[in-house]
Symmetry: C2
Subunit: 459 residues, 2 copies
């Protein structure tokens, strides 16, 4: 069988998913509801309406509909960059000398360089359908901002991106790429919002933070006619859109009768991990699979491996609704890390619940070892991985090396969520051996936990 499997498996246009898969519908134990931070009651669609698009709110709160149709207008855009290839890592297997079969789903072939475009496409489409004319968002590392700039370019929507100031200075190329797609980039904090002005008055030289950028983006959306705010990870509707990754992967594997034994994803907010594992986890929840699921996160921001399952805010300014999730506290400030997309204090409530209930394992890795794995991978497979995605590579290599010891011919699947073309400073630091690792002390984590809201469920 093995020698018949091509290096790359592509689906035909007919084989592409026509529905997203809502994993929550198949969870007997659902994630806890999102709470209004004032009333501590479950949020209603009306609570969210000033900030988010109507259809996205509906998807966010729907934990019973299994399959949600992908509108034709989104399928059309997906056709511009999907299907993504499922690749058999023959070259990596050879270098590792492992009996394991390794597969990876490569989401970096589009110009935004990552899986983020799957949800950006959907969110921009719904905004357009609803008659909106513009969107706001924030971006740190820049992958989400780029993806949304592409999607807004496609659907002809204006876009304002609040980019963390220090990030916009460090990553001028990211900024240029978003601007080339027509987005308006504002380094945050800025004088365009009250939130920004307040922070600048206190500290005119601040480099900004994701929390502050979120506050500015939300404020602008609420104040602007026919404008809403959109977010690229953590939320349920984002994971729903990302299920296209796992659905394509499963269709491709099924064609060749391949059943993965171990499925691995990197984890920041959980959107790429959740998207990849969704249909496979559905089988496990139904008792039809014994696959293991492994989330790999940075040691410097260990939401799964050292976090608490608690209600927490999504932003550092503590203005968002409360989500019950694995978190190290919205007040925790992770040390600088080259995998900027994984530096978030919390985790998708769906992934958190599955972890809590024992369906999902997690491990954390330091960045130099993650880059060791990245270099090994790129020399074998010829693809430059994003620092974020390299966490999954590290996990896959470790599992393949265990197979080498035990002689087991396991099938390992991992998500290669993006490319590292915009992360060359990280590779330079690695080449020059100036890259360092940080594992937070228990005292550092305590400071984060101290920021958790003092509400009944957290006690």
């Amino acid at each position: 069988m093995a020698d018949k499997i091509p290096t790359r498996i592509y689906l035909s246009e007919e084989e592409m998913p026509k529905f997203w898969y809502n994993l929550r519908a198949d969870m007997k134990e659902k994630p806890d509801p999102i709470l209004h931070p004032g009333t501590l009651k479950p949020v209603t669609p009306e609570d969210l309406a000033p900030v988010f698009c109507r259809e996205l709110i509906k998807q966010e709160l729907d934990d019973t509909t299994r399959l949600i149709p992908i509108p034709d207008g989104i399928q059309e855009f997906y056709g511009a960059f999907r299907p993504s290839p499922l690749i058999r890592a023959y070259y990596l297997e050879k270098i590792l000398d492992t009996p394991a079969e390794i597969y990876y789903k490569f989401e970096g072939t589009n110009t935004s360089g990552s899986h983020k475009l799957n949800s950006a496409a959907a969110q921009a489409y719904y905004a357009k359908e609803e008659g909106l004319t513009s969107l706001t968002t924030e971006t740190g590392a820049g992958q989400w901002g780029t993806a949304l700039a592409m999607a807004c370019g496609f659907y002809d929507l204006a876009l304002t991106v609040y980019m963390v100031k220090v990030s916009s200075e460090q990553k001028p190329y990211r900024k240029a790429l978003m601007e080339a797609y027509g987005a308006r980039l504002i380094p945050s904090p800025s004088n365009t919002t009250e939130a920004g002005k307040k922070i600048l008055a206190k500290d005119p030289d601040t480099g900004g933070s994701l929390g502050c950028a979120i506050s500015e983006a939300v404020e602008t959306a609420v104040k602007t006619d026919k404008c809403r705010y959109v977010l690229g990870s953590v939320l349920n509707h984002v994971l729903l859109h990302q299920s296209v990754i796992g659905l394509e992967t499963k269709t491709a594997l099924d064609k060749y009768g391949i059943k993965p034994d171990i499925i691995i994803g990197c984890a920041g907010g959980g959107s790429n991990l959740g998207g990849l594992i969704a249909p496979f986890m559905g089988e496990k929840l139904a008792g039809k699979s014994n696959a293991r699921f492994i989330a790999v996160e940075p040691a410097s921001c260990p939401s799964f491996t050292r976090g608490r399952y608690a209600y927490d805010f999504g932003d550092t300014a503590q203005t968002t609704p409360l989500i019950r999730m694995m978190t190290i506290g919205s007040g925790y400030i992770p040390s600088p890390n080259h995998a900027g997309g994984l530096r978030f204090h919390g985790m998708s409530s769906i992934m958190s619940k599955l972890y809590k209930d024992g369906y999902l394992e997690a491990r954390s890795e330091v960045q130099t070892e993650v880059f060791d794995a990245a270099i090994k991978f790129m020399k074998a497979e010829g693809i430059l991985p994003a620092p974020e995605s390299s966490h999954a590579i590290k996990g896959a290599i470790d599992e393949a090396l265990i197979c080498k010891k035990t002689g087991e011919k396991k099938v390992i699947l991992f998500g290669l969520s993006g490319t590292g073309f915009m992360d060359m400073t990280a590779y330079m630091a690695y080449n020059n051996k100036t890259m360092s690792d940080h594992i937070p002390s228990d005292e550092e984590l305590q400071k984060g936990f101290a920021s958790l809201p003092d509400i009944p469920q957290n006690r």
Copy 2:
């Protein structure tokens, strides 16, 4: 028929080319022979042996063998990044509102970001087979150096890259990428060679030039045991390896019964253009096709459109063998241009001969208009094109707009030779409207022509 053609056509592994196609074998009028610069007689394999690999010399001088087998060891590496997709530009067609069908062969899906890897793979393989342990080369824009670094990483060869000093300072990310693959990067001119020392003694602050980097790379290769020099464009064997682009394209189009009416490529040294058009030009030479072939070059370096068909050196130091080609003279210094890969004074002798004999058309374009086309393309198709490749996009859009006027449903094929991820400074200049155009005056070109060697065939 049209609605059955998928957005992306991929070949199966069985459909991949097993032979390269040597277009010269089908040319009744062959390109003139390469001359030894001292004797002015055709070069012999012995003349070239100290500098180039044996098998590559054989390929360089062979103008009669039509099909040359791709060794298994190269097919194996090709499998890591080929086939490349042939894409139907449905989204671009829609935006242009043209009745034309537009297809492009996208060579940028590998990490080196361009078609250069097709020849780098072959050249590194033959070097390894010959028992060499290291290679040298030069790089300007960096695409070739990156491709060769990847190939040497794959075949486990040491590689020294002389990178034009100003380019290595302006493109630290390119440098980092090559180093991540294990290459040794030396900014040129350097103290590691006599050629470099001589130039530094004269001008310690020089930013270097491609001509100087070539001299250093050749000197090091000749002086080092089990080491040879390799080159990424212009030469016949490079075009031979690049024929894989056209062969894949033709197989993909043939599957759907599609015959291109117009085939367009960007032209620097001619390797991407020559590779794409080879099998289609073979049909035209045999009288089996009426397709038009168009080379698009930068107005700032107009080898085809304003050059002379003459014997010239390949380097500014005037040390290489003499090649009869379209050239504006090795002494011509093109103005800075964001399409660094197209800033070469000469052109492949095969492409030059076809142009001279009327089989190939050419046009030149200024860079701001090329970037206008690039932005239009990226918004529609979602791919960030390299500045070089964007010349072909400009050509394709112009032809599609002519079809819009005439109502003709022509089939346009162009080569998208690479991505622009390492060229964001160019996009920044475009976004900021600081990009300028330069069309050389006749006087400027005269300076270049004055550098042509004074030999009988040039008079």
